[in-house]
Amino acid sequence: MMLVEAHQLSKSFGGLRAVDRVDFSVASGSITGIIGPNGAGKTTFFNLISRALPASSGRILFDGRDVTALAAHQVARLGVARTFQATTLFADATAVDNVLVGYRQRTKSGVLDALLRTGRLTREEGEARAASRDALAFVGLDAFAGRRAQDLTQEQQKRLAIALALVAKPRLLLLDEPSAGINAEQTRGLISLIEEIAAAGVTVLLIEHQMQVVMQLCQRIMVLDYGRKIAQGTPDEIRTDPAVLDAYLGRH
């Protein structure tokens, strides 16, 4: 079953076609990779799927439902979670407060609950804190719950961003270059974390520059170049695809 489908999806910035009529689908439960040279349109493709940017044309289906016209927070609530290429966190807040914001979509308490400290608020806060503790423990940050996000190491920040994305139990997780800026050993840790996420039933779509990470993790790969999909297939197929070799090696 397909969890995400893009039909003729396009995004233009002025005259530049950053994503150009891409047809692609992601199978439920899989780990899928998107690769391509710098500026190929990978992040823009993520921004279209997560509705951070409106598409210029084409359609996006999530779980069979047309989400092309929804706002970013609406698709998030349907179960689409993401991280950002330049690790983005609520920098001045503690790790646990970051993750708590991620759980907010599951709770209903409003201003009156806050002012009157209603039973609903207390119950939901309990739920939210338990879920946040679990998410922090899952990414291995339970000991850093009280630390400000900006005071964490680069690797910890990446893990926190994943905890923040996972806390509300999404169905799809979009990871934009998770291994950028961390060393080889930390990358190995991250790979096993992503495997655990997939094992827990979350479909993962991953942009990655490091080939061995993509080849090791992904069942399927899409290759973008100048906004166009130039290839898709298994890691073995992609490794030997002439168009891919040309895009990567042909112009150095």
Binding site: F84, R104, A128
Partner: protein
């Protein structure tokens, strides 16, 4: 740490009794009222990170609502006050829905224009507001049961009561999921949206609360002074309030209150200097932004952090 609010409250209860005359008592009362307004500005600016310059427009709406309801329709202070707050909430929601489509500097400029328009409407709609002449004979708060609010002392305690409620309400809000959502919007809108936060709704909520608190302060101001002119809704008032918040510390709970008392108190002391006052404040503001961008509360916070890390190096 937790003793500090109680100590401040105790001082606030005792100080009025020690003041030598009515004049100081009136200044103190106005200080409380402006502090409520500053707390309101802090909700949109400090919690949600949006610089609204329409603030004293809402102060004016709250003030004129009470004044006109009382003088034209004979409606009491106790009905006029919540009516003014409600009007500010509704108009804040509507105006916020429009202004919040713009971001950053554009939002600041847009809201400043709104503030100027509100001020102009109040000033020019002479048949309703009597323009420059202003509204006089606004009744103050009537007695509640055996408690009368005719004395300046009683009114100062009433203003203090509203200020305490305001600070308490905001502190509950800050520590709730609603407060965390506003924090998220302030820190990163794209991330907030990506985790399911309706950014527009969150900002609109903060704007509405902020406008309502400005209206509350405006209503109290009108009822306590008994007369009202259009300058109460002046953009200059917004900048004064902004100064209170910035001196105290944007985003902190007690900062806006402390900032109000320091700046407003000083401005009363320096009143003899008249026009030079603005030069002094202008200079102080520049120095503040350069050396203490997070205000007094921010300076105190980083001082404490420093001490903690000196005690147990990590």
């Amino acid at each position: 740490m937790h003793l500090l609010p109680w100590a401040a409250l105790l001082a606030a209860v005792i100080v009025p009794l020690l003041l030598p005359n009515e004049y100081y008592l009136q200044i103190l009362t106005q200080g409380y009222v402006f502090a409520i307004s500053a707390c309101g500005l802090n909700v949109i600016l400090g919690l949600a990170g949006q610089l609204s310059l329409a603030h004293s427009g809402f102060f004016g709406i709250g003030a004129y609502a009470l004044a006109l309801l009382a003088t034209k329709a004979g409606i009491s202070f106790w009905i006029g006050l919540p009516a003014g707050v409600a009007l500010c909430a509704v108009s804040g929601y509507a105006i916020g829905s429009i202004c919040l489509r713009s971001k950053g500097h554009y939002f600041a400029i847009f809201t400043m224009a709104v503030g100027i328009i509100i001020h102009l409407v109040i000033q020019k709609w002479e048949s309703l507001t009597r323009g420059h002449i202003g509204v006089i004979g606004i009744p103050g708060p009537g007695p509640i049961g055996p408690i009368s609010f005719d004395s300046t002392l009683a009114r100062s305690y009433l203003a203090l009561f509203f200020l305490v409620i305001t600070v308490l309400a905001i502190s509950r809000l800050v520590r709730s999921p609603v407060g965390r959502t506003l924090m998220a919007v302030r820190e990163s809108e794209p991330l907030a949206a990506a985790v399911g936060v309706d950014v527009m709704a969150a900002k609109r909520l903060a704007f509405t609360i902020s406008a309502s608190l400005a209206g509350l302060a405006g209503g109290l101001f009108a009822g306590f002074i008994g007369f009202l002119g259009p300058e109460s809704a002046n953009v200059e008032m917004t900048f004064n309030t902004l100064l209170y918040v910035m001196v105290g510390g944007i985003g902190s709970l007690a900062g806006p209150v402390a900032g109000t008392f320091i700046v407003y108190g000083l401005s009363q002391v320096l009143a003899v200097l008249q026009h030079y006052q603005m030069i002094i404040f202008g200079l102080a503001l520049v120095l503040l932004i350069l050396f203490m961008p997070a205000g007094l509360a921010g300076a105190a916070r980083s001082l404490m952090r420093q001490r903690v890390s000196e005690v147990k190096p990590s």
